[in-house]
Symmetry: C2
Subunit: 689 residues, 2 copies
């Protein structure tokens, strides 16, 4: 009975979110783009992005079929349905990326037009609407997918604890795996695309030819803008869809393992779903707070939305717990206040990680200023200082993550960690709206430049972009923190599902597993970095070739061949994303079957511990270099064109694949490997007896 | 009885090694330095190096006293003697560094003189003699120290299993801790000194003023050469002293834990000591193979020494096992062949890791060539490719380490891993001789340049230096592999000593410990890198100042103020080495007492897994950049002075603190933290009941 009510609520939340997204999307498409060149260039970007996405999905279809076949054949009895859930997860994830990008590429040029015709506030409204379509689609589709899987399976197999634990939740992990798989490929593929184009465009355009960023004479400039959409929008959408679904599924599994009677166990399992449903509603309400009057500060508008939604969500959560749990206790003493505490720990530690991130990467902070100063003595010291800053930043973040794990565990056991993970992402709808708003504003600026709008338009989009940065840093904090927490709940869930007893840390297979796990994120990053290096090399050669063979390009007498650059990025991304993706999927399977579940748990521990730290290091080093460069461009240490600036560009270019390809991909990698393990847990259980 | 014989043998081995070192040292000092400028400049370098070392030791004395007091007060009963053993370990480690450097700085200028007067072979003889003094002093002092500790304690407390396990071996860990502590400070301090000077000298001298390396007009050039001795000779000597003692102590502890009767347990405990004693003799014999006739290849001479010693050691080990173990079995079936197998696994995997290292970092290999090619498109792509190569290289190395752990464990349990660790370092005497030979030859080249010898002399020393590189890569492989294995045997020993039962990997304190552990090497590296960055910045400012205020320096009319540059490096090194060192010592103490021994084991696991991978990545990325630059200087990709060369210099400069400061320090860090834990294990046991 309760199960039905919760599922209907989830469906309701999903429908509301999707309807809201639809209405915002319609509104955006109704806005007109009047400038002809903007229409044309915006069309190039949109076309290139959609073409890449559909080619990417085509490449992935056989891969999805293969994994689905493995799940259908490898599993026994009803768990074979994992295969169907997997395909659904993959489709929903792909769809979130598709919708997000379709709308973002439309919102880009309309933001430029609005900035030109009607100024800052109108532009903010368009850009934020674009972001909110993305945010609401992601959470709406996630709830919809979860509803479909759970409604179907409970109808088929019943709602009792045994059916839930042995059949329904294992099938649900298939859904989550589908989401993770597509997310990894999108992040890696998108990351390679965007950084190859970016590095290529910057190094030849800015450094060699001396033309500004986003100059239409640069043949790689369209590819660069396509890349921003492919990487920052579609990649991020799939990424956060995955995080959201993964943390919910993990927490649901842990819900069934609390010590309580069967009825309460089922409630605990359902709770994460209810929490995110009220979170979706809170996010939706939050979007209405993002209003600006002429002259008011857009940063305040975004903050009002984000923090308003978080506050409302907290109130909702408390009310839900009051009615749904009330006085009931589990684990011999934990009750609604403990759960509420764990949820708040998740929310707060996400914000704190975001603040730490901001401290180590934001313009004008002490660490970033130290990088700027080191630019004065050349590229080498810029690199050394930036690497040092990135490494340092990992320490406080890990301390916060450790504290969050420890304290939420103290409140409500493993389930508490699950709730903290869900709590971090509870207002994902609006967080993602703000996150996606950034690249839209950024792209709008690029389009303004390429379409030769007057500089005031660029100034407006720049200020929009700058506003998004702080909020985006906080969003990044949530992504990092939730990846660590989710990975931990997933591999503890794996332990439950695979039927192993205590895992002895000092046993040699476990230790070897940990060592091997620790090196996987490096292997993975190396592949991603080298792929960017190789693709950028090709891009550089191509841009140099065009400048050399068509000198008319630089004098504005010839149009560069944009398409060829887009093709180079597309092909490189599609080719190079496969191997790292396959390694992530295949490694846990091999280790699980050849080395046993204990060694696999070791592997997952190693991947998580080493991966989380490496990801923080890479993301923050990249972010810090980026802003050190921006500080110099704003006049610090000699300003634009100085030797310090050249050194800063080198730092930023190295940071690009760090922060936009390898770093965020590792966040997915660690969850994907745990998810693969979780999915094959029933097979491993019967294989190892 | 057996204990006495083994101890006497160890003493004998020690005396032979030290006498050999003494005779070689005398021979070196008997060689004359006739060139006046060589004498003067060599004097500067030697003076600067010895001055630094004595100031460094002075800074460390209070620290050593503090730790000794903690050990004397914190321990109960006879274990208080740990404090004395600790001081002895610190003194022996300091002494190895001192002797090594005293002789190396004498051998430098004599190698130059020999190269000038009598050519390649004479120069090889001097340089290798210098290295062998270092190698033999290190192993001789290690055996002597072990003898003193064990002879005293067995006389005081007896030779039975209980006394050994509860009193004598815990006291022995104090000796090992003393060695580790000094090693860490020497590596970090030496690493900061040498890289600050190197980066400063290169960036202003080579890049800005356009004068060649080691030009006497460069004020930082003496500091640079002092740094090579301080970092590569004294630092490495203390480092390998630590590795050697640590692996022996760890294996001895594990020897007592095998399943066997008491008599055999004691034999197993003694075995590592016997193995290294015969290894010392084998190394000594090996040094006599390093002979060249005029016209023969010096590489062959060094190979003959290294591989000859390894072969002889293998034969000796077999004979020892035959007589000492014979048909006896332990752990329910392992016998002498299993032990022999584990020992060979150690030796072979060290060589394989060395070959992998050579593949990823050697001149002309595919990965290094790819870095060279990426130099053509600028510093950014150089950095991206190099980081990718370094990350990639960690994967095969970890696979080999994992395989070595697994297979030696399969042969003889945990004890097998201990034997493999000892096996890796069994011929340390000659490995270290070859390792130390490299910097001596390198420095001889620097002195030739600074003393304005004709270019033929430099050619000879360069070819000597090049010869050492491959062998040095193999030495690095041994250092990395043995660090990983030793860390693992140390923290398994800690588990035995601290009295905890099974450590549940899935318990939250353990997982949080692992996460926290994983970030420590990053924190540590960050500090080391930033220290180099800061010190290099000061050095750059100073060199620029001297060139600016004394234009006569560049026209050879004024002598630069070398001393001031040496002072900058000295002060920076002494100031900046303290904090990372203190963190390494204090962290396990805090986690052990506040979080408990299980969490501490988690911490050590995290530090080891993350640290080993990070160290390999950093060392190999640095090595690869270095050789990519050398390939360009030898005429590749445009050659010296081209834009590609400039990019390569940036890569090399970033790689310097990677490979010579942070990377090797992490190898010590992971062992030091395990060693601290092992030493406080009795205290933790009584604290936690």
């Amino acid at each position: 009975m309760e199960v039905k009510i919760v599922l209907i609520a989830a469906l309701g939340g999903s429908v509301v979110a999707l309807l809201y997204a639809l209405s915002r999307a319609k509104w955006i498409f109704k806005q007109k783009v009047e400038n002809e060149q903007l229409k044309r260039i915006g069309g190039f970007v949109s076309e290139g992005a959609m073409a890449f996405l559909s080619r990417e999905y085509k490449v992935l279809i056989p891969f999805v079929i293969l994994v689905a076949a493995f799940l259908a054949i490898g599993n026994k009895g009803p768990i074979k349905l994992q295969a169907a859930a997997f395909v659904l997860g993959a489709v929903c994830s792909g769809l979130s990326g598709y919708i997000g990008m379709k709308v973002a590429t439309a919102a880009n040029s309309r933001t430029t037009q609005a900035a030109s015709d009607r100024g800052l506030n109108a532009a903010l409204k368009v850009a934020f609407s674009g972001g909110s379509v993305m945010g609401m689609s992601v959470v709406g589709l996630a709830l919809l997918g979860l509803f479909i899987v759970l409604a179907t399976t409970t109808r088929l197999f019943g709602e009792d604890v045994v059916a839930l634990a042995d059949v329904i939740l294992p099938i649900l992990t298939g859904f989550s795996l589908g989401a993770s798989l597509i997310a990894l490929f999108s992040r890696v593929g998108g990351g390679i695309f965007t950084k190859a184009a970016d590095v290529g465009a910057d190094l030849v355009g800015k450094v060699e030819a001396g033309i500004p960023e986003d100059d239409p004479r640069n043949p790689a400039t369209i590819a660069d803008n396509v890349g921003d959409n492919v990487g920052d929008v579609a990649g991020m959408g799939a990424d956060l869809f995955e995080s959201f679904v993964g943390s919910i599924a993990g927490a649901m599994i842990l819900g069934l393992t609390v010590q309580a009677d069967d009825e309460l166990k089922v409630k605990m399992m359902l709770l994460p779903l209810i929490l995110v449903t009220v979170g979706v509603v809170a996010s939706l309400i939050g979007t209405f707070f993002v209003r600006t009057k002429p002259g008011s500060d857009p940063q305040k508008a975004l903050n009002a939305g984000t923090f308003g939604a978080a506050g409302i969500a907290a109130v909702f959560v408390f009310i839900v717990l009051k009615f749904f749990i009330g006085e009931q206790v589990f684990n011999g003493g934990s009750g609604m206040y403990h759960i509420f505490g764990a949820c708040i720990i998740g929310l707060v530690s996400g914000v704190v990680i975001g603040m730490i991130t901001e401290f180590f990467t934001g313009t004008g902070t002490r660490p970033v200023t130290s990088i700027m100063k080191s630019c004065e003595t050349g590229a080498a010291t810029t690199l050394i200082t930036g690497l040092g800053v990135g490494m340092m930043s990992a320490f406080p973040v890990i301390v916060i993550i450790g504290a969050a794990i420890w304290s939420s565990f103290a409140l409500a056991g493993l389930y508490g960690i699950g709730i903290a993970a869900v709590g971090m992402l509870i207002t994902l709808g609006i967080q993602l709206a703000v996150d996606a708003y950034g690249p839209i504003a950024d792209n709008a600026g690029g389009l303004a430049e390429m379409s030769e709008f007057p500089p005031e338009v660029r100034d407006i989009t720049d200020s929009l972009d700058a506003v998004g940065n702080t909020t985006a840093a906080i969003g990044k904090g949530f992504a990092i923190g939730s990846a660590a927490l989710t990975a931990i709940i997933l591999f503890t869930s794996f332990k439950e599902q695979s039927g192993v007893g205590i895992v002895d840390l000092m046993s040699i297979p476990v230790l070897v597993g940990i060592l091997l796990g620790a090196v996987i994120p490096y292997l993975f990053s190396s592949m991603a970095m080298s792929a960017v290096g190789r693709a950028a090399y090709k891009m550089i050669e191509e841009v140099r070739r065009q400048f050399r063979e068509h000198p008319g390009i630089l004098t504005d007498d010839e149009t560069p061949d944009y398409k060829r650059c887009v093709d180079i990025s597309t092909q490189a991304a599609l080719k190079e994303m496969l191997l790292p993706g396959i390694i992530s999927v295949v490694t846990p399977v091999i280790v699980g079957f050849a080395g046993g579940p204990e060694m696999l748990i070791g592997l997952l521990t190693g991947v998580t511990a080493s991966g989380v730290v490496l990801a923080i290091f890479m993301s923050n080093a990249g972010g810090a270099w980026d802003n050190a460069k921006k500080m110099i461009e704003a006049g610090g240490s000699g300003g634009k064109g100085s030797d310090a600036h050249k050194a800063a560009v080198v730092g930023d270019t190295v940071g690009d694949p760090f922060k936009d390809t390898a770093g965020p991909s590792i966040n997915i990698l660690i969850k994907l490997m745990s998810m693969v393990s979780l999915v094959i847990a029933p097979m491993l259980k019967s294989f190892w007896g």
